[in-house]
Symmetry: C2
Subunit: 244 residues, 2 copies
């Protein structure tokens, strides 16, 4: 029931990952981060930590000193909270272009690790704060992003509080599709790099219920099982299930 076997104790923050050439990371950051305009991107890219990071494991843990802000440039991260008894709730997945740790509190309020091979830009908090104080428009942008995240979290409250397993999975798949098509071109196939356990912990279900619900969708030809993801066969059906 949402327990996590290993990983509770994590190696110290970013030193867990391999540091790689930053030029690539900076370029990716510029091309991937659609939330900001060119000027804002340029300002930010000036203060990116040259030790960009290619990580396979833990990015940071809940309660840890928040020494930096991150931007995902490749791959996917899962953001989650753990209860003392091991129950896990995934509060979101971060895709290329997404910022992590924007809350400006001095400790991370959740943990983050890599779902697959990923790269992230690291922006030292000290420099970030200074830049924010100098550039009010960046502050405003930051607030817009936080407000957007808040809206997503509140939508997810409805999902976890009031929706059935079938509905939860439909909402999840359509939400993921929307985010992927914002990055890549439109496609009927949704990549699912995360495990069934991750999906279960995101949707407040068990791995068995997620698996059974997928099977149901496959059987009734709503979805098609393809390697590393699913293909949508009956979009209207998903939309009905997820309707708001």
């Amino acid at each position: 029931m949402g327990t996590v076997t290993a990983l509770h104790r994590a190696p110290p923050c970013l030193d867990a990952g391999q540091h790689v050439d930053c030029a690539h990371c900076r370029t990716r950051f510029l091309s991937v981060c659609s939330a900001l305009d060119d000027d804002e991107l340029h300002e930010l890219s000036q203060i990116i930590d040259p030790r960009c990071v290619s990580a396979r494991s833990t990015l940071f843990s809940q309660g840890e000193e928040a020494g930096a802000v991150f931007n995902v440039t490749e791959g996917m991260a899962r953001l989650y909270k753990l209860l003392p008894d091991g129950r896990r709730q995934i509060i979101g997945f971060a895709l290329p272009g997404d910022f992590l740790g924007l809350s400006l509190s001095d400790q991370f309020s959740f943990s983050a690790d890599a779902v697959n091979d990923m790269r992230i830009c690291r922006i030292p908090r000290s420099k970030f704060s200074v830049l924010l104080d100098e550039k009010p428009h960046l502050m405003k942008r930051l607030h817009e992003m936080a407000a957007n995240e808040l809206m997503l979290a509140q939508d997810q409250l409805v999902v976890l509080g009031r929706r059935s397993a079938e509905e939860r999975l439909a909402v999840f798949l359509l939400g993921l599709r929307k985010r992927f098509t914002a990055i890549h071109h439109i496609s009927p196939t949704i990549p699912l790099p995360m495990s069934r356990q991750d999906i279960a912990d995101y949707l407040g279900l068990t791995i068995e219920t997620v698996s059974r619900t997928f099977s149901k969708f496959f059987k009734e030809r709503t979805l098609l099982n393809v390697p590393d993801g699913v293909r949508i066969l009956d979009l209207p059906r998903l939309n009905v299930l997820a309707q708001r």
Copy 2:
């Protein structure tokens, strides 16, 4: 199961409420809003709509044009989202000092109405935006508040996704207690102005389960049933249930 009988169609925003003398409202705003410092409060109080509002019903509805920002000065508001079939999820309760509609998007992403007799300050969005652009420190404060709300919402995701009915109620009561003691002095009695249905819709449960769980707490002497609220008899017990 989280259905709401009436209230789906609401009278136009604030005109539903009775407009009252603003001097009182402004005074209350100044004394009640602990999130801001004196300078910030003064700046804001200059642009408060003189038509402050005493409301018993709907403040605003999801999807409505967001023409104003609000600050609760008295009473309590419930903030909620509805699914098309009537299922309701309450995403929060607003207490004196709390702002509503800070997201700066042009439409409200949730609905709000009064739990009991309440008063709110109304700050026109146009003036608010201008003030924000002039005063970066206010913008920063705003972002801090949004980030705090985001943290609360993410905590609530864990509650809805991974906790039992008993645990949910314990977390709810302790959270409410914490917020009340931040306003009033400390007290073992927690006022509960909202209905059992409201609590159920906040915790993703049914009214019957909430009632049964209260009864269990009363029977085992964890809580004492008092008029308009509950008294905590066994705080350690609640803390164990709510432990994070």
